[in-house]
């Protein structure tokens, strides 16, 4: 199951015009698909926090944004998410999980375990995709919810789907 391809097709069909990301192994293929798509503006950022301003400004101007980040990046957006909630900015966030299913790096575990609670604490709706075949459908549902209800909706893609088990695999991606 090529979940990045299926997810990219959903994002294109729903008219997402802006894709904000910080490079990430789990998102590598989806990022490349978005960069190659002339309908989307792929914006590489220095920190995930920049994505909240990006998405807010884009929506003020009428464009839909999806943010791609790793679970550690969720820690970088917490305060800024207050603007999304207060202004009711629709936003889809796709999070590749670390520190969650068979993690080998202990430094990833604290934020991985805090990812869903932190997102919920800031008012984002959280959906968990545990299999590759679920991801695109979850993203489509999250987009419907976010743009129908004017809020942030996050899809957490389990480490089970990403499948990185050690440093050698991570470096080889």
């Amino acid at each position: 199951m090529d979940w990045p391809l299926a997810t990219h097709q959903v994002l294109a069909r729903l008219g997402f015009g802006v894709v904000g990301f910080v490079p990430d192994a789990g998102h590598k293929r989806l990022i490349e698909l978005c960069q190659a798509d002339t309908r989307m503006r792929a914006v590489v950022m220095t920190t995930e926090e920049e994505g909240i301003g990006l998405a807010t400004g884009a929506w003020l101007g009428g464009a839909k944004t999806v943010l791609l980040m790793q679970s550690s990046g969720v820690g970088n957006i917490v305060n800024a998410l207050g603007m999304v909630r207060e202004c009711r900015i629709p936003l889809v966030i796709i999070v590749t999980m670390r520190g969650e299913y068979g993690e080998f790096n202990p430094w990833q575990v604290p934020m991985g375990q805090a990812t869903a609670p932190v997102l919920r604490a800031m008012g984002a709706v959280v959906q968990q995709a545990n299999a590759a075949a679920e991801v695109a459908a979850h993203v489509e549902a999250a987009a419907r919810l976010a743009f129908g209800s004017y809020c942030a909706a996050a899809v957490l893609v389990s480490q089970r789907v990403i499948g990185i088990k050690n440093f050698q695999e991570q470096a080889a991606q």
Partner: protein, 194 residues
Amino acid sequence: MSLQRRDVVQALLADRGALLVVAGLGSTAWDCTAAGDDALTFPMWGAMGSAAMTGLGLALAQPARRVLVLTGDGEMLMGLGSLATIGVQQPANLSVVVIDNERYGETGMQATHTAHGVDLATMARAAGFASGVLVRDMAGVAALRQGVHKAAGPHFAQIKVAAQKVPLALPPRDGTLLKNRFRQALLGEDAARQ
């Protein structure tokens, strides 16, 4: 004679036409309100460090419109990475202007890094902005205003102003109101049904 922040912002926003404005939290948002509350100004009451990126998102979504971010030195310092991100994207319609009083105005006028010589304009040029200028007089402000409306950017300017307390001029606080009035003014009545 130091520049007065309210004079500077008033001059930059004079005859603003179709200009879209993002105002960073704190004094610059109050300055914009003092110059005239406007549906096409989005004043931020939080998310410190996000003003320049909010301007980038707006500039990318509206490439045919000119976008001006007006923010403070403390707010800009909290989002310095966004200068690099804007430098990569090269939005020709975006200007980021820092009203630099070298102080954190809302927390007791403590010195910011710019008071110690940190040079934001040089940083912006190094990040790839088409221009990055330090402005110290009203002639420079007038030239900057021309560039904001006409010249190919992205532009950056750091305008040194007097560190002074000025009367509060507060925009509406409700985020959904600020968002909806901006989108309606820019995108039309149907914006609320999208």
